[in-house]
Amino acid sequence: MNQFVMAAIGGGLIGVAASILLLTQGRIAGISGITGSLFRADVSDKGWRWAFFLGLMAGGCILALVSPEVFVVSEDRPLWMMGLAGLFVGFGTQMGSGCTSGHGVCGITRLSPRSLVATGVFMVAGMFISTVLAGGLL
């Protein structure tokens, strides 16, 4: 199927997922927030977070079994850069209280000023770095 249609359908499903969590327990489906909290000793309410995390893992298993072609890794990025990327993403999402899901989807839906600013900043930064690495802008 056309990649634009797939993007919209997949996005719609992400919206459905965020809606389930909001309607059933009044929580924001922010992946970095939920995952990051699993490492925190000061967060006591970990049950639903672990359940969400396990659901995410189960979804990954289903994709790997039914449709493994969805997993593609670009050859343009060396391994050390992927490690560095992970470090920045982990640190940055904890510092900035959210990622593409919490700020980009849930926060923008609420028109939260913090999420609108954060999403603008990480989109521009991501585009800048990726474009520079592809040999543009320089």
Binding site: G11, T24, G60, L63, V70, L79, L87, V105, M127
Partner: protein, 148 residues
């Protein structure tokens, strides 16, 4: 609430959180977010720019906006007694700095947290390294924060 009712509520909460994660993961896979060539194609502004992934955020927000409106009319969620929605409005350096670092990482790897975790099952060493270092980055910030 008696013990039986509370354990029923807890099962409902855990089950719906599990379903949320599962649907989220499948949505990420279908959308193209687990394909870093597509993500980098979206983030790289050149002649080959691929805008398709714009529709992921667009589709998610379109669906979620409808349900968000419905939910704000309710006094409490279905299985719990209150909504836990962030209420902060202030734009501070930590928010901007964090978003900036996250964006740099996203541009370096083409992976954000959700697609990273889900893509572990794709079996690529690049993703495994990304996810392990993401966990290190998360813990590193949390330690750093405690020392402030």
């Amino acid at each position: 609430m008696n013990t039986k009712a509370s354990s029923r509520a807890s099962t409902a909460v855990l089950t719906s959180a599990f379903v949320t994660g599962l649907v989220f993961a499948v949505g990420l896979g279908i959308s193209g977010m687990t394909d870093t060539t597509k993500v980098l194609g979206f983030l790289t502004l050149n002649a080959d720019w691929n805008p398709a992934l714009m529709l992921v955020m667009g589709g998610a927000i379109a669906v979620h906006a409808i349900v968000y409106r419905i939910s704000t009319k309710r006094s409490h969620p279905i299985f719990t007694d209150r909504f836990n929605i962030p209420s902060r409005q202030d734009i501070d350096g930590r928010l901007i700095g964090g978003a900036l670092l996250f964006g740099v990482g996203w541009g370096l790897g083409g992976v954000c947290p959700g697609p990273g975790l889900v893509s572990i099952f794709g079996g690529a060493i690049e993703i495994l390294v990304f996810v392990v270092m993401m966990a290190v980055g998360m813990v590193f910030f949390q330690q750093f924060q405690q020392r402030l």
